[in-house]
Symmetry: C2
Subunit: 156 residues, 2 copies
Amino acid sequence: MGERYLKSVRLLAECLQGFERFVAEPVRRHGLTHPQFDIIATLGNTPGMTYKELGERTLITKGTLTGVIDRLEQKGLVERARNCDDKRSFLVRLTAEGDTLFRNVFPAVVAHGKQLFADYGDGDFEQLDHALRRLRTRLDTPGLVTPGGHVPADEG
Amino acid sequence: MGERYLKSVRLLAECLQGFERFVAEPVRRHGLTHPQFDIIATLGNTPGMTYKELGERTLITKGTLTGVIDRLEQKGLVERARNCDDKRSFLVRLTAEGDTLFRNVFPAVVAHGKQLFADYGDGDFEQLDHALRRLRTRLDTPGLVTPGGHVPADEG
DNA sequence: TATTGTTATACTCTATAACTATA
DNA sequence: TATAGTTATAGAGTATAACAATA
């Protein structure tokens, strides 16, 4: 404790948590959960993508992804299409209805969220992004020591 | 789309998501889920607090909280104590075992996370906090317009 | 052999609402 | 009447491992 960074992480958590709560309203209004919206938003304006790609972008593991996609498929918002290149995989893409939803919900969510940054100028965004980008870079860097005292690569 | 702030929010999400994944390792190693750790961390170094207080700090609703506390109680990490002032409520507090866990896990998690900010100087933290604080302030500000076009206070 | 996606399992979280006991 | 916490319900996400089809 007493570590300087904890304050920043707490702020970070409060901001994202607050933002997600703030944004959850229009999402839930359309009957979507957060992961479901994540999928819709990720598929929006694309020709579709494989489970693998979707999983990597949304950080949802494949076993879970099947369930989430199933529910979206039941709602008629996405569809699976055979991937000619690799018969093991599917392309998941928005249906016409899914695309309509995307075009309705996404701008609403964006507009809703935009208000929060009403008083941010270019400089403020730059400042924020700069600090965050460093952290993200650090997060992508392998070789950090785990609490056990060994590097992740050593582990089972 | 094309909104400037989306880039920042994406960064924000990636950072927190990445941080939580990074930190999840030591937490899970001790058999705790994220909400459970949240409770332990919140109760640490306190004489205990009520459900209401706990719920407000962790943003877990009371119905859910009962379940989370139940599981922690089954593990012998927290205990309920009658609140003399108000017989409707309990004080939830760490047991000796819970306190030991807190003292073991929390510093480990903190130390683990600290590495991410190894190259952040005072100025970097200030910059980050400054930008985040503005966003948080904005999130706490009522009266923002919802996608439906009316202010939240108008709703059911 | 490795990879893509599915299935099964078991648990946890979540929101919600009806309920109790106190206040 | 209002509040603190419980219980019941129903759904959704999660990790994990074993599995089929394909590469």
